[in-house]
Symmetry: C2
């Protein structure tokens, strides 16, 4: 049986193949296939736009990342950015650069994964382009959403005294990536790495309840997210090591390998949880978010300080949170 | 003197370097540097969105494409798509994948070229991302614009009897690319290849005057554009070879090399002119466009037919316009 490659099919046929699978909602005035997409704005909202690229061997490894996961992640990282702004996702555009020898079934898998996540979040794929890649498989997604003007979340609103929170658990994706590289270990962690769930509903609830003073998504780890938020807000942060939400299997994974689980969780990226701050007076608003959010845990992990330093309180005392957060035991 | 590379500087410094150069208009509620950009929609308009990628060795050759031209073209191809929809460009997002060894001055040049064109069209760069590339320099731009609901131009509106027009001259960019590869020849053509001018004003005027029944931009040549428009509109087209707008230097360039100039002009891509159709009754509207457009020529090049075939009338008779339009003399 001969395997068809994307260059056998050609650009036009590949585009038609994707377009045939799309459902186009009524607010899309001109959908995929014309020079550009035309969409009706949503009344009373602002537009939110973000773009993030995924490149083979930089952002994912085809040896252990199934095509569906590649497509899922390419959209998920963008929806996570929208979530961090408190936005409701609405549409996506897809730029694909494909190696000539890539099999059509692999491309189908990438599209499957992307469209499954798009459907789950009612995101319409409204445009894009396909190109030959002389190098790695490259997937660049631009995502657009909407947000009510008074519900925008930014990184810049944290003030001294605000409490610092994080959704879900951290360090899972890093353990998952290690597990995938090792060939086995922590199945739950692997899924967290391969199919991160963008915290769209959490971001929406934080915005709707006006509960968060600042918000950012954790793409490059907790330490990185804390640093970026603190810089944007011109404040410092003191984390509490004992309060960090580490899953038991992640703790075991790292301890079995002689690693400091806490260090790994603080540095490890790809979790796509939300890090946010809440004014002390807005505890009631956060309570409302907790009621509405269902099973997703929200953990208080620290406090915003006036002093611009970044630190973490451990059983051995308060230590600085260094660039890259190499070691702190 | 040591040359700094982009990996010497790192992602954060590179992003800060670009952001420092941007001016942000008042409708940008949250600009570059947060998780996503937030922009206020323009009252009474629809949003128009497009994305197009430029990859080294696929879309441009660094040996004869200066960095400024790479940046210019990356934005120009997207503005051309907006122009073809009758849209007014407004914003752009930029995804960059940079080889480690790329010099910072080269990146500066790419950004110079992109921002110069952005300024000329009052386009705000509102977001983006920078990533390492294990392969070629890759620039993916998403552009957004606005259009009044009744002024949208699509590919699908051509009807039998409509007249077919093209802006500017065609085949210039192909001759320019050949000239660049040869090391010299047609300086004007080279500039047309390196710094295509998206026909934004022409697209706007066609929409405002409601002059065009269909419109598409010529990225892959006249034959390709005619085919795509005809397919979308379920019609045929008969071109008139004698009416095609060939510049004298382009004609000479091809004839000096023993090529059929007409064939080259019909097949040659990268001109980014607009191809559009006009109802016979709307000659007055087109006249208004001509009055307002200034020096840009508009040439009638053919007629829309009910018969779905694509053909070209030459001194030797009517010939089919084949896929790729190999030869017709």
């Amino acid at each position: 049986m001969s395997t068809r490659t994307v260059s056998d099919l050609g650009e036009r046929a590949l585009i038609d193949r994707i377009i045939a699978r799309l459902a186009t909602p009524s607010w899309v005035v001109v959908g995929p296939g014309d020079d550009a997409a035309v969409v009706a704005p949503k009344r009373g909202t602002l537009d939110v736009l973000t773009t993030d690229i995924q490149i083979e061997s930089v952002h994912f490894d085809c040896r252990f990342t199934p095509p569906e996961a590649i497509g899922h992640r390419a959209l998920a990282v963008n929806l996570s950015d929208l979530a961090a702004m408190g936005a409701e996702p609405r549409l996506a555009l897809l730029s694909l650069a494909l190696p000539d020898a890539m099999e059509v079934t692999t491309l189908d898998g990438v599209i499957d994964g992307l469209l499954a996540l798009a459907r789950a979040h009612r995101v319409a794929l409204v445009g894009g382009n396909i190109s030959r890649s002389p190098g790695p498989l490259t997937i660049d997604v631009t995502a657009g959403g909407t947000v009510h003007p008074r519900r925008v979340l930014t990184r810049a609103g944290a003030r001294p005294g605000d409490e610092v929170y994080v959704t879900g658990t951290i360090g899972d994706a890093m353990a998952g990536l290690e597990s995938l590289r090792a060939g086995a270990g922590c199945e739950r962690c692997e899924q967290r790495y391969l199919r991160p769930e963008p915290r769209v509903r959490a971001g929406l609830l934080l915005g709707r309840n006006r509960a968060a003073s600042a918000c950012i998504d954790l793409s490059d780890g907790l330490a990185d997210g804390v640093r970026r938020m603190a810089e944007a807000s011109h404040v410092g942060v003191e984390l509490d090591a004992a309060a960090l939400p580490l899953a038991e299997d992640v703790r075991q994974w790292h301890e079995a390998r002689g690693h400091d689980a806490l260090d790994a969780a603080v540095r490890g990226g790809d979790d796509y949880e939300l890090l946010f701050t809440v004014r002390p007076a807005h505890g009631g608003r956060l309570k409302a978010v907790r009621r509405q959010i269902g099973h997703l845990p929200i953990s208080k992990v620290g406090i915003v300080t006036k002093d611009p330093g970044l630190s973490i309180r451990t059983p051995d005392g308060v230590r600085p949170l260094p660039e890259g957060f190499a070691h702190f035991r």
